[in-house]
Protein backbone atom coordinates (compact mmCIF):
# COMPACT_ATOMS: atom_id res chain seq x y z
CA UNK A 1 0.00 0.00 0.00
CA UNK A 2 1.39 3.35 -0.98
CA UNK A 3 0.67 6.18 1.45
CA UNK A 4 0.25 9.64 0.08
CA UNK A 5 3.42 11.78 0.55
CA UNK A 6 1.37 14.61 2.00
CA UNK A 7 -0.05 12.28 4.67
CA UNK A 8 3.46 11.13 5.60
CA UNK A 9 4.54 14.76 6.09
CA UNK A 10 1.51 15.48 8.22
CA UNK A 11 2.14 12.47 10.40
CA UNK A 12 5.78 13.46 10.80
CA UNK A 13 5.01 17.03 11.75
CA UNK A 14 1.97 16.13 13.93
CA UNK A 15 3.69 15.58 17.32
CA UNK A 16 5.56 18.91 17.17
CA UNK A 17 2.45 20.73 16.00
CA UNK A 18 0.30 19.14 18.68
CA UNK A 19 2.70 20.17 21.47
CA UNK A 20 2.88 23.74 20.14
CA UNK A 21 -0.91 24.02 19.79
CA UNK A 22 -1.63 22.62 23.28
CA UNK A 23 1.15 24.37 25.21
CA UNK A 24 1.60 27.53 23.14
CA UNK A 25 -1.41 28.27 20.90
CA UNK A 26 -4.21 27.54 23.37
CA UNK A 27 -2.49 29.22 26.38
CA UNK A 28 -1.79 32.36 24.36
CA UNK A 29 -5.44 32.53 23.23
CA UNK A 30 -6.48 32.14 26.86
CA UNK A 31 -4.17 35.02 27.88
CA UNK A 32 -5.91 37.09 25.20
CA UNK A 33 -9.33 36.13 26.59
CA UNK A 34 -8.38 36.70 30.24
CA UNK A 35 -7.18 40.21 29.38
CA UNK A 36 -10.89 41.12 28.97
CA UNK A 37 -11.93 39.43 32.23
CA UNK A 38 -12.67 41.02 35.56
CA UNK A 39 -11.10 39.94 38.82
CA UNK A 40 -11.78 40.12 42.53
CA UNK A 41 -8.96 39.30 44.88
CA UNK A 42 -7.91 35.82 43.77
CA UNK A 43 -10.87 35.08 41.51
CA UNK A 44 -10.99 35.65 37.81
CA UNK A 45 -14.48 36.64 36.72
CA UNK A 46 -15.20 35.72 33.08
CA UNK A 47 -17.01 38.70 31.59
CA UNK A 48 -16.11 41.10 28.83
CA UNK A 49 -14.73 44.39 30.07
CA UNK A 50 -12.17 46.79 28.68
CA UNK A 51 -11.14 48.10 32.10
CA UNK A 52 -7.78 46.33 32.09
CA UNK A 53 -6.79 48.04 28.85
CA UNK A 54 -8.27 51.40 29.83
CA UNK A 55 -6.33 51.40 33.09
CA UNK A 56 -3.19 50.31 31.27
CA UNK A 57 -3.38 53.16 28.76
CA UNK A 58 -4.43 55.79 31.28
CA UNK A 59 -1.63 55.03 33.71
CA UNK A 60 1.41 57.22 33.38
CA UNK A 61 3.43 54.30 34.70
CA UNK A 62 2.90 52.30 31.50
CA UNK A 63 4.69 54.88 29.40
CA UNK A 64 7.58 55.08 31.88
CA UNK A 65 7.95 51.28 31.87
CA UNK A 66 8.03 51.21 28.08
CA UNK A 67 10.53 54.05 27.94
CA UNK A 68 12.85 52.21 30.36
CA UNK A 69 12.50 48.97 28.37
CA UNK A 70 13.16 50.75 25.07
CA UNK A 71 16.17 52.56 26.52
CA UNK A 72 17.65 49.18 27.49
CA UNK A 73 16.79 47.68 24.10
CA UNK A 74 18.42 50.50 22.13
CA UNK A 75 21.65 50.55 24.16
CA UNK A 76 21.97 46.77 24.34
CA UNK A 77 21.20 46.45 20.64
CA UNK A 78 23.90 48.96 19.68
CA UNK A 79 26.54 47.36 21.93
CA UNK A 80 25.76 43.75 20.98
CA UNK A 81 25.68 44.68 17.29
CA UNK A 82 29.09 46.36 17.49
CA UNK A 83 30.62 43.45 19.41
CA UNK A 84 28.80 40.79 17.38
CA UNK A 85 29.81 42.27 14.04
CA UNK A 86 33.45 42.70 15.08
CA UNK A 87 33.76 39.19 16.56
CA UNK A 88 32.03 37.55 13.58
CA UNK A 89 34.23 39.53 11.15
CA UNK A 90 37.35 38.39 12.99
CA UNK A 91 36.26 34.73 13.02
CA UNK A 92 35.19 34.63 9.38
CA UNK A 93 37.83 36.74 7.66
CA UNK A 94 40.89 36.65 9.89
CA UNK A 95 40.99 33.14 11.33
CA UNK A 96 42.51 31.01 8.65
CA UNK A 97 42.07 27.37 9.55
CA UNK A 98 38.70 25.69 9.96
CA UNK A 99 39.76 24.00 13.22
CA UNK A 100 40.62 27.35 14.83
CA UNK A 101 37.42 28.86 13.47
CA UNK A 102 35.26 26.10 15.00
CA UNK A 103 37.26 26.19 18.26
CA UNK A 104 36.95 29.96 18.75
CA UNK A 105 33.30 29.88 17.69
CA UNK A 106 32.61 27.24 20.35
CA UNK A 107 34.34 29.38 23.00
CA UNK A 108 31.78 32.08 22.23
CA UNK A 109 28.90 29.57 22.27
CA UNK A 110 29.58 27.48 25.38
CA UNK A 111 28.22 30.05 27.90
CA UNK A 112 24.89 29.90 26.04
CA UNK A 113 24.50 26.31 27.26
CA UNK A 114 24.98 27.28 30.92
CA UNK A 115 22.56 28.92 33.35
CA UNK A 116 21.55 32.52 32.60
CA UNK A 117 20.76 33.20 36.24
CA UNK A 118 24.20 32.04 37.36
CA UNK A 119 25.89 34.10 34.64
CA UNK A 120 23.94 37.13 35.77
CA UNK A 121 24.74 36.56 39.46
CA UNK A 122 28.42 36.23 38.60
CA UNK A 123 28.54 40.00 37.98
CA UNK A 124 27.66 40.74 41.62
CA UNK A 125 31.07 39.93 43.19
CA UNK A 126 32.66 41.52 40.16
CA UNK A 127 30.90 44.89 40.18
CA UNK A 128 30.15 45.36 43.91
CA UNK A 129 31.55 48.18 46.06
CA UNK A 130 34.27 45.84 47.28
CA UNK A 131 34.19 43.82 44.10
CA UNK A 132 37.00 42.73 41.82
CA UNK A 133 36.69 45.70 39.50
CA UNK A 134 36.68 48.42 42.19
CA UNK A 135 39.49 46.67 44.09
CA UNK A 136 41.62 46.49 40.97
CA UNK A 137 41.10 50.16 40.11
CA UNK A 138 41.87 51.24 43.68
CA UNK A 139 45.00 49.13 43.81
CA UNK A 140 46.15 50.69 40.56
CA UNK A 141 45.51 54.10 42.10
CA UNK A 142 43.10 55.14 39.35
CA UNK A 143 40.29 55.80 41.83
CA UNK A 144 40.37 56.41 45.58
CA UNK A 145 36.75 55.75 46.42
CA UNK A 146 34.89 52.67 45.15
CA UNK A 147 32.57 53.47 42.26
CA UNK A 148 29.03 52.83 43.46
CA UNK A 149 27.23 53.13 40.12
CA UNK A 150 28.65 49.79 38.95
CA UNK A 151 26.23 47.46 40.69
CA UNK A 152 22.45 47.68 41.19
CA UNK A 153 22.11 50.32 38.51
CA UNK A 154 21.24 50.76 34.85
CA UNK A 155 24.89 50.12 34.12
CA UNK A 156 24.75 46.67 35.78
CA UNK A 157 21.53 45.81 33.92
CA UNK A 158 23.09 46.70 30.58
CA UNK A 159 26.32 44.82 31.31
CA UNK A 160 24.31 41.70 32.20
CA UNK A 161 22.14 42.00 29.06
CA UNK A 162 25.18 42.39 26.84
CA UNK A 163 26.84 39.45 28.58
CA UNK A 164 23.81 37.20 28.12
CA UNK A 165 22.72 38.23 24.64
CA UNK A 166 25.74 39.06 22.48
CA UNK A 167 25.87 35.44 21.31
CA UNK A 168 22.50 35.95 19.59
CA UNK A 169 24.16 38.59 17.40
CA UNK A 170 27.38 36.69 16.77
CA UNK A 171 25.84 33.46 15.47
CA UNK A 172 23.49 34.82 12.78
CA UNK A 173 26.03 37.45 11.60
CA UNK A 174 28.72 34.75 11.48
CA UNK A 175 26.40 32.62 9.33
CA UNK A 176 25.72 35.43 6.86
CA UNK A 177 29.37 36.45 6.63
CA UNK A 178 30.55 32.88 6.09
CA UNK A 179 28.40 32.75 2.94
CA UNK A 180 29.94 35.89 1.38
CA UNK A 181 31.79 35.04 -1.81
CA UNK A 182 35.45 35.97 -1.26
CA UNK A 183 35.68 36.81 -4.93
CA UNK A 184 33.38 39.79 -4.45
CA UNK A 185 35.69 41.17 -1.75
CA UNK A 186 38.79 40.50 -3.83
CA UNK A 187 37.19 42.36 -6.71
CA UNK A 188 36.51 45.36 -4.47
CA UNK A 189 40.12 45.38 -3.22
CA UNK A 190 41.44 45.05 -6.78
CA UNK A 191 39.28 47.97 -7.84
CA UNK A 192 41.10 50.03 -5.20
CA UNK A 193 38.63 50.03 -2.32
CA UNK A 194 40.08 50.54 1.15
CA UNK A 195 39.49 48.03 3.94
CA UNK A 196 36.81 50.28 5.45
CA UNK A 197 34.99 50.71 2.18
CA UNK A 198 34.94 46.95 1.64
CA UNK A 199 33.45 46.51 5.10
CA UNK A 200 30.87 49.24 4.74
CA UNK A 201 29.89 48.62 1.13
CA UNK A 202 30.38 44.88 0.66
CA UNK A 203 30.45 43.01 3.98
CA UNK A 204 27.82 45.08 5.81
CA UNK A 205 25.11 44.90 3.11
CA UNK A 206 25.75 41.17 2.58
CA UNK A 207 25.45 40.47 6.33
CA UNK A 208 22.15 42.27 6.73
CA UNK A 209 20.01 39.13 7.05
CA UNK A 210 22.23 38.02 9.93
CA UNK A 211 22.05 41.46 11.52
CA UNK A 212 18.26 41.48 11.16
CA UNK A 213 17.95 38.04 12.75
CA UNK A 214 20.27 39.02 15.61
CA UNK A 215 18.29 42.24 16.10
CA UNK A 216 15.03 40.28 16.38
CA UNK A 217 16.59 38.00 18.99
CA UNK A 218 18.04 40.84 21.06
CA UNK A 219 14.84 42.94 20.96
CA UNK A 220 12.62 40.03 22.00
CA UNK A 221 15.04 38.82 24.69
CA UNK A 222 15.49 42.23 26.30
CA UNK A 223 11.81 43.22 26.00
CA UNK A 224 10.74 39.86 27.46
CA UNK A 225 13.18 39.75 30.35
CA UNK A 226 12.19 40.35 33.92
CA UNK A 227 14.78 38.75 36.19
CA UNK A 228 17.85 40.68 35.03
CA UNK A 229 16.11 44.01 35.65
CA UNK A 230 14.84 42.85 39.04
CA UNK A 231 18.18 41.66 40.37
CA UNK A 232 20.76 43.82 38.61
CA UNK A 233 18.97 47.16 39.11
CA UNK A 234 18.55 46.28 42.78
CA UNK A 235 14.86 47.02 42.43
CA UNK A 236 15.50 50.58 41.25
CA UNK A 237 14.28 50.12 37.69
CA UNK A 238 11.35 48.26 36.25
CA UNK A 239 10.38 47.39 32.71
CA UNK A 240 7.06 46.25 31.28
CA UNK A 241 7.61 42.55 31.94
CA UNK A 242 9.21 42.97 35.36
CA UNK A 243 6.17 45.00 36.46
CA UNK A 244 3.97 42.32 34.92
CA UNK A 245 5.76 39.59 36.89
CA UNK A 246 4.98 41.52 40.07
CA UNK A 247 1.29 41.59 39.07
CA UNK A 248 1.43 37.83 38.47
CA UNK A 249 2.93 37.14 41.87
CA UNK A 250 0.08 39.08 43.48
CA UNK A 251 -2.35 37.00 41.34
CA UNK A 252 -3.67 39.95 39.35
CA UNK A 253 -3.97 37.87 36.20
CA UNK A 254 -6.37 39.95 34.05
CA UNK A 255 -4.33 43.19 34.13
CA UNK A 256 -1.13 41.16 33.66
CA UNK A 257 -2.72 39.46 30.65
CA UNK A 258 -3.74 42.83 29.15
CA UNK A 259 -0.22 44.13 29.62
CA UNK A 260 1.18 40.97 28.00
CA UNK A 261 -1.13 41.36 24.98
CA UNK A 262 -0.05 44.97 24.45
CA UNK A 263 3.63 44.06 24.73
CA UNK A 264 3.26 41.18 22.25
CA UNK A 265 1.52 43.49 19.76
CA UNK A 266 4.27 46.11 20.07
CA UNK A 267 7.08 43.54 19.74
CA UNK A 268 5.28 41.91 16.80
CA UNK A 269 5.11 45.31 15.07
CA UNK A 270 8.84 45.83 15.62
CA UNK A 271 9.65 42.34 14.29
CA UNK A 272 7.43 42.72 11.24
CA UNK A 273 9.06 46.08 10.49
CA UNK A 274 12.43 44.31 10.48
CA UNK A 275 11.07 41.46 8.34
CA UNK A 276 9.76 44.01 5.86
CA UNK A 277 13.27 45.39 5.47
CA UNK A 278 15.03 42.02 5.19
CA UNK A 279 13.83 38.63 3.99
CA UNK A 280 14.87 36.52 6.98
CA UNK A 281 12.98 33.35 6.11
CA UNK A 282 15.34 32.64 3.22
CA UNK A 283 18.23 32.78 5.67
CA UNK A 284 16.53 30.40 8.11
CA UNK A 285 15.46 27.75 5.66
CA UNK A 286 18.61 28.00 3.59
Amino acid sequence: MKINQQTVSWLQVAPLTLVLVVFFGVPMLLVGAVSFFDYQRWHIVPTFILDNYVELFQSGLTLRLYLTAIKYVVIVWAVTLAIGFTVAYFLVFHVRTLTWQIGLFLICTVPFWTSNIIRMISWIPFLGRHGVFNDGLMRLGIIHQPLSFLLFSDFAVIVAYVHLNTLFMIVPIFNSMARIDRGVMEAAYDAGASRWRVISEVVLPLSKTGIALGTIFVITLVMGDFFVVKIMSGGQSATVVSALSTEISSLQYPPAAASAVVLVVIVALMVSAILRLVDVRRELTG
Binding site: W10, L20, M28, R96, P125, H130, H163, T220, G286
Partner: protein, 286 residues
Protein backbone atom coordinates in the same frame (compact mmCIF):
# COMPACT_ATOMS: atom_id res chain seq x y z
CA UNK B 1 40.57 31.17 -0.93
CA UNK B 2 42.34 32.03 2.29
CA UNK B 3 45.87 33.31 2.35
CA UNK B 4 48.64 30.82 2.94
CA UNK B 5 49.90 30.37 6.48
CA UNK B 6 53.15 32.18 5.78
CA UNK B 7 51.55 35.30 4.41
CA UNK B 8 52.11 38.31 6.72
CA UNK B 9 49.04 39.17 8.74
CA UNK B 10 47.68 42.73 8.44
CA UNK B 11 47.66 44.95 11.56
CA UNK B 12 43.89 44.62 11.71
CA UNK B 13 44.36 40.94 12.58
CA UNK B 14 46.19 41.84 15.78
CA UNK B 15 43.71 44.57 16.69
CA UNK B 16 40.75 42.26 16.15
CA UNK B 17 42.45 39.36 17.94
CA UNK B 18 42.99 41.63 20.95
CA UNK B 19 39.33 42.63 20.82
CA UNK B 20 38.33 38.98 20.67
CA UNK B 21 40.47 38.12 23.70
CA UNK B 22 38.88 40.99 25.64
CA UNK B 23 35.44 39.72 24.67
CA UNK B 24 36.29 36.20 25.85
CA UNK B 25 37.56 37.65 29.16
CA UNK B 26 34.28 39.55 29.47
CA UNK B 27 32.34 36.31 28.83
CA UNK B 28 34.27 34.06 31.20
CA UNK B 29 35.93 36.40 33.75
CA UNK B 30 32.97 36.95 36.09
CA UNK B 31 32.00 33.27 35.90
CA UNK B 32 35.50 32.23 36.94
CA UNK B 33 35.34 34.67 39.86
CA UNK B 34 32.27 32.95 41.31
CA UNK B 35 33.77 29.49 40.84
CA UNK B 36 36.79 30.60 42.85
CA UNK B 37 34.62 32.29 45.49
CA UNK B 38 32.52 29.14 45.96
CA UNK B 39 35.59 27.58 47.64
CA UNK B 40 35.54 30.29 50.36
CA UNK B 41 36.42 29.29 53.90
CA UNK B 42 33.54 28.98 56.41
CA UNK B 43 33.92 32.63 57.48
CA UNK B 44 34.32 34.00 53.97
CA UNK B 45 31.90 36.44 52.39
CA UNK B 46 30.50 37.18 48.94
CA UNK B 47 33.63 38.95 47.67
CA UNK B 48 37.39 38.67 47.78
CA UNK B 49 39.64 38.20 49.71
CA UNK B 50 39.36 34.45 50.08
CA UNK B 51 39.12 33.62 53.77
CA UNK B 52 40.80 30.24 53.52
CA UNK B 53 39.91 27.51 51.06
CA UNK B 54 37.28 24.89 51.87
CA UNK B 55 34.40 22.82 50.59
CA UNK B 56 32.27 24.24 53.41
CA UNK B 57 29.66 25.84 51.13
CA UNK B 58 29.25 22.70 49.05
CA UNK B 59 28.57 20.76 52.26
CA UNK B 60 26.12 23.49 53.28
CA UNK B 61 24.19 22.82 50.08
CA UNK B 62 23.80 19.14 50.86
CA UNK B 63 23.06 19.76 54.54
CA UNK B 64 20.24 22.16 53.54
CA UNK B 65 20.53 24.22 56.67
CA UNK B 66 19.88 27.59 55.17
CA UNK B 67 19.16 26.56 51.61
CA UNK B 68 16.05 24.80 50.35
CA UNK B 69 15.68 21.34 48.91
CA UNK B 70 18.64 21.58 46.51
CA UNK B 71 19.11 17.83 46.12
CA UNK B 72 15.45 17.25 45.24
CA UNK B 73 15.39 20.22 42.86
CA UNK B 74 18.52 18.89 41.21
CA UNK B 75 16.99 15.43 40.66
CA UNK B 76 13.81 16.95 39.21
CA UNK B 77 15.78 19.21 36.87
CA UNK B 78 17.84 16.30 35.53
CA UNK B 79 14.72 14.15 35.08
CA UNK B 80 12.89 16.97 33.33
CA UNK B 81 15.85 17.77 31.09
CA UNK B 82 16.13 14.08 30.11
CA UNK B 83 12.45 13.95 29.12
CA UNK B 84 12.67 17.26 27.24
CA UNK B 85 15.74 15.95 25.38
CA UNK B 86 13.99 12.76 24.23
CA UNK B 87 10.83 14.53 23.06
CA UNK B 88 12.81 17.33 21.40
CA UNK B 89 15.03 14.94 19.46
CA UNK B 90 12.22 12.65 18.27
CA UNK B 91 9.70 15.37 17.43
CA UNK B 92 12.08 17.81 15.76
CA UNK B 93 13.82 15.13 13.67
CA UNK B 94 10.41 13.92 12.46
CA UNK B 95 9.27 17.47 11.72
CA UNK B 96 12.57 18.27 10.01
CA UNK B 97 12.05 15.29 7.66
CA UNK B 98 8.48 16.46 6.95
CA UNK B 99 9.68 19.92 5.95
CA UNK B 100 11.84 18.48 3.18
CA UNK B 101 8.65 18.06 1.15
CA UNK B 102 5.98 20.64 0.51
CA UNK B 103 2.83 20.05 2.49
CA UNK B 104 -0.31 22.04 3.16
CA UNK B 105 0.05 24.04 6.37
CA UNK B 106 3.86 23.96 6.34
CA UNK B 107 4.25 27.71 6.68
CA UNK B 108 1.60 27.84 9.44
CA UNK B 109 3.60 25.34 11.49
CA UNK B 110 6.82 27.21 10.72
CA UNK B 111 5.45 30.58 11.83
CA UNK B 112 3.92 29.09 14.97
CA UNK B 113 7.32 27.62 15.88
CA UNK B 114 9.02 31.01 15.34
CA UNK B 115 6.35 32.80 17.39
CA UNK B 116 6.82 30.24 20.15
CA UNK B 117 10.58 30.75 20.02
CA UNK B 118 10.47 34.51 20.49
CA UNK B 119 7.48 34.75 22.84
CA UNK B 120 8.68 35.95 26.28
CA UNK B 121 8.93 32.86 28.47
CA UNK B 122 6.95 34.40 31.31
CA UNK B 123 3.90 34.81 29.01
CA UNK B 124 4.00 31.13 28.05
CA UNK B 125 4.22 30.33 31.74
CA UNK B 126 1.26 32.62 32.49
CA UNK B 127 -0.85 31.10 29.70
CA UNK B 128 -0.20 27.49 30.72
CA UNK B 129 -0.78 28.39 34.36
CA UNK B 130 -4.17 29.87 33.39
CA UNK B 131 -5.11 26.82 31.30
CA UNK B 132 -4.36 24.46 34.19
CA UNK B 133 -6.20 26.71 36.62
CA UNK B 134 -9.31 26.87 34.47
CA UNK B 135 -9.29 23.06 34.05
CA UNK B 136 -8.83 22.68 37.82
CA UNK B 137 -5.63 20.73 37.25
CA UNK B 138 -2.53 20.97 39.40
CA UNK B 139 0.55 22.09 37.46
CA UNK B 140 3.45 19.63 37.82
CA UNK B 141 7.07 19.73 36.74
CA UNK B 142 6.64 16.53 34.70
CA UNK B 143 3.42 17.74 33.02
CA UNK B 144 2.85 21.46 32.57
CA UNK B 145 6.52 22.43 32.97
CA UNK B 146 7.52 19.74 30.45
CA UNK B 147 5.07 21.17 27.92
CA UNK B 148 6.17 24.74 28.65
CA UNK B 149 9.82 23.90 28.03
CA UNK B 150 9.02 22.01 24.82
CA UNK B 151 7.50 25.20 23.34
CA UNK B 152 11.02 26.59 23.51
CA UNK B 153 13.24 23.58 22.73
CA UNK B 154 11.18 22.27 19.78
CA UNK B 155 11.58 25.45 17.66
CA UNK B 156 15.33 25.38 18.32
CA UNK B 157 15.42 21.69 17.37
CA UNK B 158 13.46 22.39 14.20
CA UNK B 159 15.79 25.22 13.12
CA UNK B 160 18.85 23.02 13.73
CA UNK B 161 17.26 20.24 11.67
CA UNK B 162 16.65 22.76 8.85
CA UNK B 163 20.35 23.62 8.89
CA UNK B 164 21.43 19.95 9.08
CA UNK B 165 19.05 18.63 6.42
CA UNK B 166 19.71 21.64 4.19
CA UNK B 167 23.28 20.41 3.75
CA UNK B 168 22.20 16.77 3.34
CA UNK B 169 23.01 15.26 -0.05
CA UNK B 170 19.93 13.37 -1.19
CA UNK B 171 21.97 11.30 -3.63
CA UNK B 172 22.76 8.95 -0.72
CA UNK B 173 19.07 8.27 -0.20
CA UNK B 174 18.48 7.75 -3.91
CA UNK B 175 21.40 5.31 -4.02
CA UNK B 176 19.90 3.38 -1.09
CA UNK B 177 16.54 3.15 -2.83
CA UNK B 178 18.18 2.07 -6.08
CA UNK B 179 19.91 -0.73 -4.18
CA UNK B 180 16.54 -1.95 -2.98
CA UNK B 181 16.27 -0.43 0.50
CA UNK B 182 12.77 0.00 1.88
CA UNK B 183 11.75 3.42 3.20
CA UNK B 184 12.41 2.32 6.77
CA UNK B 185 15.79 0.81 5.94
CA UNK B 186 16.75 3.97 4.10
CA UNK B 187 15.82 6.10 7.08
CA UNK B 188 17.45 3.83 9.68
CA UNK B 189 20.68 2.89 7.88
CA UNK B 190 21.33 5.89 5.64
CA UNK B 191 19.57 9.13 6.58
CA UNK B 192 19.75 9.03 10.38
CA UNK B 193 23.40 7.90 10.62
CA UNK B 194 24.42 10.70 8.25
CA UNK B 195 22.62 13.40 10.23
CA UNK B 196 23.62 11.90 13.62
CA UNK B 197 26.00 14.78 14.57
CA UNK B 198 23.14 17.23 14.00
CA UNK B 199 20.83 15.08 16.12
CA UNK B 200 23.38 15.14 18.96
CA UNK B 201 23.38 18.94 18.56
CA UNK B 202 19.58 18.98 18.96
CA UNK B 203 19.92 16.83 22.10
CA UNK B 204 22.53 19.21 23.53
CA UNK B 205 20.20 22.18 23.01
CA UNK B 206 17.22 20.26 24.41
CA UNK B 207 19.03 19.23 27.57
CA UNK B 208 20.81 22.46 28.42
CA UNK B 209 17.92 24.79 27.54
CA UNK B 210 15.59 22.74 29.76
CA UNK B 211 18.08 22.28 32.59
CA UNK B 212 18.63 26.05 32.89
CA UNK B 213 15.17 27.30 31.96
CA UNK B 214 13.62 29.70 34.44
CA UNK B 215 10.83 31.95 32.99
CA UNK B 216 8.84 29.12 31.40
CA UNK B 217 8.95 27.10 34.60
CA UNK B 218 7.92 29.86 37.03
CA UNK B 219 4.16 29.24 37.00
CA UNK B 220 4.15 25.72 35.58
CA UNK B 221 6.29 23.66 37.96
CA UNK B 222 3.60 23.42 40.64
CA UNK B 223 4.45 23.02 44.29
CA UNK B 224 7.95 21.56 43.82
CA UNK B 225 10.91 23.53 42.50
CA UNK B 226 13.31 22.78 39.70
CA UNK B 227 16.93 23.84 40.14
CA UNK B 228 16.68 27.26 38.41
CA UNK B 229 13.63 28.09 40.55
CA UNK B 230 15.59 27.09 43.64
CA UNK B 231 18.53 29.25 42.55
CA UNK B 232 16.15 32.15 41.90
CA UNK B 233 14.79 31.82 45.44
CA UNK B 234 18.36 31.75 46.72
CA UNK B 235 19.30 35.00 44.96
CA UNK B 236 16.82 36.80 47.18
CA UNK B 237 17.27 34.82 50.44
CA UNK B 238 20.79 33.52 50.61
CA UNK B 239 23.66 35.93 51.07
CA UNK B 240 26.43 33.40 51.54
CA UNK B 241 28.86 31.76 49.12
CA UNK B 242 26.43 28.78 49.08
CA UNK B 243 24.85 30.68 46.18
CA UNK B 244 28.14 30.52 44.29
CA UNK B 245 28.58 26.87 45.23
CA UNK B 246 25.28 25.99 43.59
CA UNK B 247 26.39 28.00 40.55
CA UNK B 248 29.61 26.03 40.35
CA UNK B 249 27.78 22.70 40.65
CA UNK B 250 25.21 23.43 37.95
CA UNK B 251 27.87 24.84 35.62
CA UNK B 252 30.00 21.71 36.07
CA UNK B 253 26.96 19.60 35.07
CA UNK B 254 26.40 21.80 32.00
CA UNK B 255 30.06 21.55 31.04
CA UNK B 256 29.98 17.75 31.33
CA UNK B 257 26.93 17.58 29.05
CA UNK B 258 28.51 20.00 26.55
CA UNK B 259 31.81 18.06 26.59
CA UNK B 260 30.10 14.70 26.03
CA UNK B 261 28.03 16.08 23.14
CA UNK B 262 30.87 17.92 21.42
CA UNK B 263 33.34 15.05 21.87
CA UNK B 264 30.95 12.52 20.37
CA UNK B 265 30.31 14.83 17.41
CA UNK B 266 34.07 15.28 16.93
CA UNK B 267 34.68 11.50 17.16
CA UNK B 268 32.02 10.74 14.56
CA UNK B 269 33.44 13.36 12.19
CA UNK B 270 36.98 12.06 12.68
CA UNK B 271 35.96 8.44 12.06
CA UNK B 272 34.20 9.56 8.90
CA UNK B 273 37.20 11.52 7.70
CA UNK B 274 39.45 8.49 8.33
CA UNK B 275 37.12 6.17 6.42
CA UNK B 276 36.85 8.62 3.57
CA UNK B 277 40.65 8.87 3.55
CA UNK B 278 41.00 5.09 3.39
CA UNK B 279 38.42 4.87 0.63
CA UNK B 280 40.35 7.44 -1.38
CA UNK B 281 43.63 5.60 -0.84
CA UNK B 282 42.21 2.28 -2.00
CA UNK B 283 40.77 3.87 -5.14
CA UNK B 284 44.09 5.50 -6.01
CA UNK B 285 45.97 2.22 -5.40
CA UNK B 286 43.64 0.17 -7.53
Amino acid sequence: MRGTANERRPWTFYALAAFFVLFVLFLYGPMIVIYVLSFQGPNGGLTFPLNGVSLHWFHALIAQERTGDIAGAFRRSIGLAAMVTIFTVVFSVMAGLAFRRRFAGASMVFYMAIASLIMPGLFVSLGIGLVFQSLNMQPTWYGSALGAQLTWTLPYGLLIMFAVLGRFNRAYEEAASDLGASNWQRLLYVTLPIVLPGIIGVALFGFTLSYDEFPRTVLTAGSTNTLPLEIWAMTTNVTSPALFAVGTVTTVISFIVIAVALTSIALIQRRRARRAGKANESTTVS
